[in-house]
């Protein structure tokens, strides 16, 4: 009789624990659901406040003005040029770095889908980079060599070392994500953080995402990974874009100014 009542109590306690845990999980799912009401699903009907026609003159005009604003920052910004399949870093409106964007089609959403999601929600023409995560990589130079150099030039190994990424992700708000993969074999940076990032992505995916996988040469990946600080302004030239920004040639005036200055010296 005593054993029976004890067993009954244990079962009741276990039930309470399960109930509390379930309540916690339901609460979290609830928070998730509320949060993602603002982010419409990627492939279901989107609710946009502004629906752009990417071939319209108005869009072209707005994009050109946005780029002018970016140029005024005198800081690098990233252009995802889907019309020419290029990744471009620009400074003051001038290309300082560009590489072909080799999108892995079978693992990626279409550039059209990515572009639409980029320009929907919050009516942004330029989005700041929200996050980056390095899954795996390796040092460009061996630490022992750098240690010797460090002794000679009195600079720390950490400052001189360059991480060559094997795989990293750049993320913008509204479920926009690009994963870059290179040809090198590196070491995972943090297995725990990698798992957390994967988990986060898995949980967010059902609520809307546009993701692409891009292959990149490792020497180019070093630059992109290092420049891609949080907040890096990002702009998109949509697929089949043929607007103002693709047809800008250097002005004769600028050239003449440059020559006048040079001759004065």
């Amino acid at each position: 009789m005593f054993i029976y009542s004890k067993a009954k109590r244990i079962i009741a306690d276990a039930g309470k624990i399960v109930a509390i845990l379930m309540a916690g999980i339901i609460l979290i799912i609830g928070i998730n659901a509320c949060k993602d009401k603002k982010e419409p699903p990627a492939k279901q009907g989107r609710i946009e406040t502004k629906k752009w026609d990417f071939k319209s003159e108005n869009f072209d005009f707005a994009l050109a003005q946005a780029e002018l604003q970016l140029a005024g920052l005198k800081k690098p910004y990233l252009v995802l040029d889907f019309s020419k399949n290029k990744l471009i870093l620009k400074l003051n409106g001038v290309a300082v770095w560009d590489v072909p964007m080799e999108i892995t089609a079978d693992e990626s959403d279409s550039p059209e889908d990515f572009t639409e999601r980029f320009f929907s929600d919050n009516n942004l023409l330029v989005r700041p980079l929200f996050d980056k995560h390095l899954f795996a990589g390796k040092g460009q130079s061996s630490d022992s060599v750098l240690k010797i150099i460090s002794g000679v030039v009195r600079a720390s190994v950490e400052l001189m070392q360059r991480e060559v990424p094997e795989r990293f992700q750049l993320e913008w708000e509204n479920g926009l994500l690009i994963e870059f993969r290179t040809e090198i074999m590196g070491q995972p940076k943090s297995k725990f953080k990698n798992t957390l990032v994967e988990l986060r992505r898995t949980l967010q995916r059902p609520f809307g995402e546009s993701a692409m996988v891009v292959r990149l040469d490792s020497k180019h990946a070093i630059t992109l990974y290092r420049v891609a600080e949080r907040g890096l302004p990002t702009l998109i030239y949509p697929p089949k874009y043929g607007g103002i920004l693709e047809n800008i040639t250097p002005s004769k005036e600028a050239n003449q100014k440059l020559e006048r200055k040079a001759s004065r010296k």
């Binding site: 624990i17 509390i20 845990l21 916690g24 979290i28 998730n32 949060k35 003159e57 108005n58 005009f61 707005a62 003005q65 946005a66 002018l68 604003q69 140029a71 400074l91 003051n92 409106g93 001038v94 290309a95 770095w97 009516n123 942004l124 023409l125 330029v126 989005r127 700041p128 929200f130 996050d131 750098l146 150099i149 030039v153 600079a155 001189m160 360059r162 993320e171 708000e173 957390l196 986060r200 020497k219 180019h220 070093i222 630059t223 290092r226 420049v227 949080r230 907040g231 302004p233 103002i244 800008i248 040639t249 250097p250 002005s251 004769k252 600028a254 440059l258 200055k261 040079a262 010296k265």
Partner: protein, 216 residues
Amino acid sequence: MKKIVFFVVLPLLLIIVALSVYVLKGGRDIDTQEAFSVPIDSVLHELPTDSKLAKKEVQKVKKALSALKPAKPYIVIDTHANRIFLRIEDSILLEATCSAGSGGEFIDSTTGRKWVFNTPRGIFKVDSKIPHPWWRKPDWAFLEEGEQIPNDDGERLDPNMMGDFALGFGDGFFIHGTIYERLLGVSVTHGCVRVGSDDLEVLYNKTPMGTYVYIF
């Protein structure tokens, strides 16, 4: 039962909540001060309906954008990958390995003076071209070696350190040669940009005064 709740259930719940916050927030909050975004209402996104006015507006933007682009080749220095380029908008005329600033610091223990050895980033112009340059050693060059700063300016001059050519881009910073070519590709300089002798010669001959230098 209370013990189980306190030691098992509560920590479990805390872990779940922390994970959930991480999942929702993406790890960290974005610094809105540093982030730059362009909302559509900050630009004149609608063209005037009058076609003449619309054309005028488009021309204005086009002109402003084209004025930014150098008509002649420009130098680009990628301090992240230690590469230097001579390029025009869509093509690269020269690509070479270079060495940019180490980012290290040096503090003079007696005076407290501090130097940070960064290559400046931004937009510059070639403002001097010097064949067979001599290095005028700054104070830190002596202090780093534990030497006295000389009173005689002549003792500061070193004819061997800067290679065959130097291209100045302002504030005492130069693109120049080096006797340590084996270190090219590593960020080891005190702020100047070192280039190998062959590439430096090509760069020197192809860049007139006033050439734009973009450093990022």
